[in-house]
């Protein structure tokens, strides 16, 4: 069965510190993996995706994600967090259909 898990409901980070938002997945075959961000009262915005190739994927707003096949993970990272990064982050995996995780709320404190 296809699934995606975001083990943390909320992540708290001080501004300027590195951040990681975790995602693990389960899918048959090669995964297509995505990260989206949602700001309050807005739709989801595409951040980045992994289809094939380099395990480190760079995306919008300075975010990147590392694909780890052996750990079936696709964690979202940023070297230096900004208060404006505070939002809801969704990981998604494409198998037969696109399946979203429950979301992780990122709070960056000044």
């Amino acid at each position: 069965a296809q699934s995606v898990a975001q083990p943390e409901d909320q992540v708290n980070v001080a501004e300027g510190n590195p951040l990681t938002v975790k995602c693990t997945y389960s899918v048959s075959g090669n995964p297509y993996l995505f990260w989206y961000v949602q700001y309050p009262n807005r739709g989801l915005q595409f951040l980045l995706k992994y289809i094939t190739g380099d395990n480190l994927v760079k995306g919008s707003y300075g975010f990147e994600a590392e694909f780890n096949k052996s750990q079936t993970s696709f964690h979202l990272k940023k070297p230096s967090a900004l208060v404006s990064d505070s939002a809801l982050y969704f990981c998604a995996v494409r198998g037969l259909k696109l399946i979203f995780g429950a979301g992780t709320r990122l709070a960056v404190h000044p």
């Binding site: 297509y32 995505f34 989206y36 009262n41 807005r42 739709g43 989801l44 915005q45 595409f46 995706k49 289809i51 969704f90 494409r94 259909k97 696109l98 979203f100 995780g101 429950a102 979301g103």
Partner: protein, 113 residues
């Protein structure tokens, strides 16, 4: 929001009434999707369309129907709204399903009393 509009943006209705939500795109993308977003569940697919008059069910399709008579419009209908259908509804589009980068509309907040 990638040339996608949703209407209405907010709606309050009563149990048992029909409700239609509209998604309109200006990107000429082949695929269109309806999701609902509820706390703790992320986004769940209701229905999707892979062309004019071509639609299929998602994981939470009970109580919902859809229609697509034009490439640019995808309608979601709640035939008889229930309180469990109170949610935020998002439309999404994608051009190439194999890559499946979906782009989302701004959402419709529906309250069923």
């Amino acid at each position: 929001d990638a040339g996608i509009t949703q209407s209405p943006r907010h709606k309050v209705t009563e149990t048992g009434t029909p409700v239609t939500l509209r998604c309109h795109q200006t990107e000429n993308h082949r695929y269109m999707y309806w999701y609902r977003q509820d706390p703790g569940h992320g986004l769940r697919l209701i229905h999707y369309s892979y062309g004019v008059k071509d639609t299929d069910k998602g994981e939470v399709s009970d109580g919902y129907s859809v229609s697509r008579s034009k490439t640019e419009d995808f309608l979601l209908t709640l035939e008889s709204a229930t309180s469990s259908q109170t949610s935020v509804y998002f439309c999404a589009i994608s051009e190439d399903r194999a890559e499946e980068t979906q782009y989302f509309g701004p959402g419709t907040r529906l309250l069923v009393l």
